[in-house]
């Protein structure tokens, strides 16, 4: 029974090809769920659009850019600050959002003039900012606007500004993954190699596929600083536009999220002969491996061991406390793509938990190969899962906790199952040694919260625990 058709999908039998349950002795040559293809008409989807993949995931994180969204204002709001990626320049990228605010008349008569007006106005309002991303959306792509021509005009007029155009409207691909791809390849084509960095160490790297969610990047930066390694660019957590233009000068590309940013690492390998090293930076044991691998590349093994010893001494005891209380707990990971394969073995090895169901919104075949290779026998693996399927999974398995986004999170909370925000975290960072402890603490607090015992109770029922809270304690005498 390796590929499974859920009861709720009986009217959409093609969904069977997207759900797999692993059995003993099988590997990914036997079964691999279909993924990264169109959502089947008639089924629901949790996916985001291609423009969202470019803007929300990658471009919007950069800390010193105007992010001009060429389209209706709603497209701007929907990719605003929900990821909580801070920066050390007072969170400029979280405070503002820009849109050309196109209306029906612009769509009828063309929106290029409106775009130019918006760009000029934005640079005027933020005179200290000289870098900009411009994104097309479905509306402006459909009418055939040429934002690159507009931006060339602006660059000629203003001279000291630099603009990068991402032409990836929402409909460009089947999910947000297409936006990751387009931005990666576009940046490689147009911007890398156009500026030289100041080199301060003989050990230089790019950290690729890390977006500083709640300070993840700061954690990695701290370790790398202690090892004497210069990070030319973080793609794209807490980074500047110009640092990203210098990526060609790194000696090594360290890749965390291979789904959103593996493309640029592959191109840097192909064009500049910079090796790509994939690492897991979530998970206590995995971080040790990541630091050892980077150390071995540069001959800095001793420095890596120093960092590991220092961090393990600080955090191992705390992690052990949570392990005692979390081992055996069953969880589901229903996130975008890579967190499935990053987290599954980390949670099982570090904390003794059991991952019983995984779902990926935009993962490709490669991601499912990794997920299934690392996953347990009997675990359910779903591509592009939807609410009805999630309900059915929860009817058939026991789950103590769900790692997912706020939309599905609210859904499972109504079933009185706790959830942790797997996209933007509850109380991160989750990366590195301290991050592994933060993640364990959030899971412990979620699972053991007394709220769940009360959530489904009717306070009008006399046997409800709510009543015991309001009853007078006979041992207490209150003087009037």
């Amino acid at each position: 029974m390796p590929l499974k058709l859920f009861c709720c999908d009986e009217c959409i039998p093609e969904r069977k090809n997207h759900v797999y349950i692993k059995e003993e002795g099988e590997d990914t040559t036997d079964f691999l769920p279909l993924s990264n293809i169109d959502t089947i008409a008639g089924s629901l989807s949790e996916r985001g659009c291609s423009y969202c993949g470019a803007k929300l995931v990658i471009g919007g994180v950069i800390k010193d850019c105007i992010q001009m969204i060429h389209g209706p204002v709603g497209c701007a709001y929907d990719t605003w600050h929900t990821k909580r990626y801070p920066s050390d320049n007072d969170n400029f990228q979280l405070k503002y959002i820009w849109s050309s605010d196109t209306k029906e008349k612009h769509i009828v008569f063309g929106a290029e003039k409106q775009l130019k007006k918006a760009i000029m106005e934005a640079f005027q309002e933020f005179p200290a900012i000289k870098r900009m991303f411009v994104y097309t959306t479905c509306t402006t792509a459909l009418i055939g606007d040429n934002p690159k021509a507009v931006c060339r005009e602006v660059q000629e007029e203003l001279e000291d500004v630099d603009i990068f155009v991402v032409e990836c409207p929402g409909f460009a691909g089947v999910s947000q993954s297409k936006g990751h791809h387009e931005l990666n390849i576009g940046w490689m084509r147009d911007k890398i190699g156009t500026l030289e960095p100041e080199i301060t160490s003989e050990y230089t790297i790019n950290v690729i596929g890390d977006y500083n969610i709640q300070g993840d990047t700061y954690v990695l930066q701290k370790y790398l600083d202690k090892m004497g390694i210069q990070v030319i660019a973080h793609f794209t957590g807490n980074v500047t536009y110009d640092q990203l233009r210098c990526m060609h000068r790194a000696k090594l590309n360290v890749v965390n999220c291979a789904r959103s940013a593996g493309y640029i690492a592959n191109e840097l390998k192909r064009v500049y002969d910079i090796p790509r090293m994939d690492v897991d930076t979530w998970g206590f044991e995995y971080v040790k491996v990541a630091l050892r691998k980077i150390g071995a590349f540069f001959g800095l093994e001793d420095k890596a061991e120093e960092v590991i010893a220092e961090e393990v001494a600080k955090y191992e005891g705390k992690l052990d406390w949570y392990k005692e209380r979390l081992k055996g707990k069953q969880i589901c990971i229903w996130t975008g793509g890579p967190r499935l394969w990053h987290w599954t073995k980390a949670l099982e090895d570090d904390l003794g938990m059991e991952v019983v169901a995984m779902s990926s919104k935009f993962g490709h075949q490669e991601d499912f190969e990794k997920v299934i290779a690392r996953g347990r026998i009997g675990t359910i693996y779903i591509d592009d899962g939807n609410e009805l399927e999630f309900f059915e999974v929860l009817d058939n398995i026991h789950a103590d906790l769900i790692f997912t986004g706020p939309r599905v999170g609210d859904l499972v909370k109504k079933l009185h199952i706790p959830y942790i925000n797997g996209h933007a975290y509850h109380n991160g960072p989750y990366m590195g040694f301290e991050g592994a402890v933060n993640m364990a603490r959030d899971m412990y607090n979620a699972i053991y919260s007394p709220m769940w015992k009360l959530a489904g109770k009717d306070p009008r029922e006399t046997d409800s625990p709510m009543w015991s809270l309001t009853e007078k304690d006979s041992g207490v005498v209150q003087e009037s």
């Binding site: 040559t29 493309y263 592959n266 090796p275 090293m277 691998k293 075949q365 490669e366 290779a373 690392r374």
Partner: protein, 112 residues
């Protein structure tokens, strides 16, 4: 020997990521480079790191070799030819799973 090959293949599948790079050529290159280097480390051979790619293979291989030595005590009982046979067997098995019989239809797309 087949059991040992399967044991190491399972360890790599669970712990490593390099066998699942995006393209067939990338996977083949990593499997050949890292497993050859792992064999040299396990056999105590002298290693010359010349190119950036050599260094990358070495760093992954060093970690894998340490993992094998920690988790599989039987490795110390194999002689040099035994290690080579093991490494070649693992290469073949990984190529089978991740390249030759892979169901990943994106492996050979020219534009990702």
């Amino acid at each position: 020997m087949n059991e040992k090959i399967e044991e190491i293949t399972a360890l790599i599948q669970e712990r490593c990521l390099w066998q699942f790079f995006s393209r067939s050529w990338d996977r083949e290159e990593n499997i050949e480079g890292i497993m050859t280097m792992t064999g040299k480390i396990l056999n105590g051979e002298k290693i010359n790191l010349v190119t950036p790619a050599d260094k990358a293979f070495y760093s992954d291989a060093k970690n894998l070799a340490a993992d094998i030595q920690n988790k599989m005590p039987w490795i110390s009982e194999l002689d040099k030819s035994g290690i080579l046979e093991l490494v070649e067997g693992v290469k073949k098995r990984l190529l089978h799973i991740t390249v030759k019989k892979s169901r990943n239809c994106e492996l050979n797309l020219p534009n990702y």
